[in-house]
């Protein structure tokens, strides 16, 4: 178990103001905020892609790197088949019988019939499903999702959301950044609301939307966007 994840006074280049929080296993966490609020940066700090200027980020268990995965808004596919893209990730993680595990993952996201198609010629929605398969195949304890449907059409968005719910139900801790209120409602159990790099509010989804505690969150929900 690599959770809980503890952030103590973490700051990053004025984009993230000193921030302390703990993420435990269980409920899926949605990082909500306007563009430029620091959602993606916070997620990259947690995932280890960025190093904080101050503070500390501590996972609990051994080899935390191996037990987490991230899906980006624009996932990068290697110029090889869909199957080979998943196999590549599994081999780096040292999974035995990577090919079989990759096929299972593709089956899971409904891409088995495209396994041998080149990944880069798949549609945006298919590539995002492939990115989820690549992440899911690693059976991560924590799955970071950075605006995973921001560039997809409604039908592809629905497919991706269904898969995310399935990962959540299978026990993976989902941490997702989004500025889409509907998506936060549909997929989140708790909300971390960021405003200008500060963690303004942390609440359950129901409470956040029904009774936001901060004026910034209330304005964001109403769509008033006073900071524009």
């Amino acid at each position: 178990m690599i959770l809980p994840l503890k952030l103590e006074g973490v700051a990053y280049r004025g984009i993230i103001e000193p921030l302390t929080l703990e993420l435990g296993a269980g409920p899926s966490t949605v990082i909500l905020g306007a563009n430029g609020a620091g959602k993606s940066v916070l997620m990259r700090l947690m995932h280890g892609l960025l190093v904080p200027n101050a503070g500390s980020i501590a996972w609990s268990g051994e080899n935390p790197r191996r037990h987490q995965a991230m899906v980006f808004q624009h996932p990068v596919m290697l110029r090889r088949s869909a199957l080979a893209n998943v196999v590549y990730a599994l081999k780096i993680a040292g999974v035995a019988d990577a090919r079989r595990a990759a096929l299972v993952a593709l089956e899971e996201v409904g891409l088995a019939h495209l396994a041998h198609r080149s990944a880069r010629v798949l549609s945006g929605g298919e590539q995002q499903r492939l990115a989820l398969a690549r992440a899911w195949a690693l059976h991560p304890e924590v799955l970071f999702l950075d605006e995973p449907t921001a560039s997809l059409d409604p039908s592809a968005t629905r497919e991706i959301e269904t898969l995310i719910r399935a990962f959540d139900a299978a026990g993976t801790k989902v941490v997702m950044a989004t500025h889409n209120l509907g998506q936060a409602r549909r997929l989140g159990d708790e909300v971390l609301f960021l405003h200008q790099g500060r963690l303004v509010e942390r609440a359950s989804v129901d409470q956040f939307f029904a009774k936001p505690a901060s004026p910034e969150a209330a304005a964001f929900i109403k769509g008033e966007l006073p900071w524009v």
């Binding site: 980006f72 990068v76 780096i92 880069r120």
Partner: protein, 242 residues
């Protein structure tokens, strides 16, 4: 000598016809020169590719002091004058030079060395550009998947292999077209170090225009064919892999 009595008043068409005749008849001298040219230039490009791709990739991805200076130097070296490279290699390989004991001067080996030096900056600089662009796109994803160091570099190099083909071809174009360096270090010795470009220079000055033209046609034809092939390969790859 086929062109000794060549009259400048004759139409250029006459020379072209004779040149095509030489090519069509599979002229032995012409064939020998073409083969040696190919051997020297392909060897030089192979060596420069083996050295230049890792060098370009390392400069693209690495962050170290003096990187910018190396970048500027590498770009400047793309325009190295062949005669200067020839002169430097000549000095190194001449009997009194530091590598004189190798006895390479006036051999195809010396020509390969000179062309490798000429082509290396071109392949390394173009590779650096391609890798840097790709790295910007791939870095976060590869780091997220846990690919680091040599593994990440090899993944990127393999993924942009069709773009790198352009860099290698640019190098081959440079190698097969240059005359100054191979003339100085090879000496243009008949049957030993005479390649297409040095032969064209010599035969033109001797007035044997058909042989010179014939070699010119073969040289241009080869470069055209190689580039056409590379274009087709790249197109097909783009369609297949995206």
């Amino acid at each position: 000598m086929p062109g000794a009595d060549f009259n400048p008043m004759h139409s250029i068409l006459e020379a072209i016809r004779a040149a095509l005749g030489l090519i069509a008849s599979g002229d032995a001298t012409l064939g020998e020169i073409v083969l040696l040219s190919l051997g020297v230039s392909l060897s030089a490009v192979t060596l420069a590719t083996l050295l230049g791709l890792p060098l370009g990739a390392a400069i693209a991805v690495g962050r170290f002091p003096g990187r910018r200076a190396i970048l500027v130097l590498l770009n400047a070296l793309m325009g190295l004058p062949p005669v200067v490279v020839g002169l430097v290699v000549y000095l190194l390989l001449s009997r009194a030079g530091p590598l004189g004991e190798l006895g390479l001067l006036f051999t195809p080996g010396a020509m390969v060395i000179a062309q490798t030096i000429l082509v290396l900056p071109i392949i390394a600089a173009l590779c650096r550009q391609s890798v840097e662009d790709a790295w910007r796109e791939y870095e976060e994803q590869l780091r997220s998947l846990g690919a680091q160091g040599v593994r990440a570099a090899l993944t990127v190099l393999w993924d942009i292999r069709f773009s790198l083909l352009t860099a290698v071809l640019a190098g081959l174009g440079r190698a097969s077209a240059e005359v100054g360096a191979v003339m100085i270090v090879g000496g243009n010795i008949d049957g030993v170090t005479r390649v297409m470009t040095t032969a064209i220079a010599l035969e033109t000055s001797k007035g044997d225009l058909p042989l010179a033209l014939g070699l010119g046609i073969v040289l241009i034809g080869m470069i055209l064919a190689l580039n056409a092939a590379a274009y087709l390969v790249k197109e097909a790859a783009q369609r297949r892999y995206g």
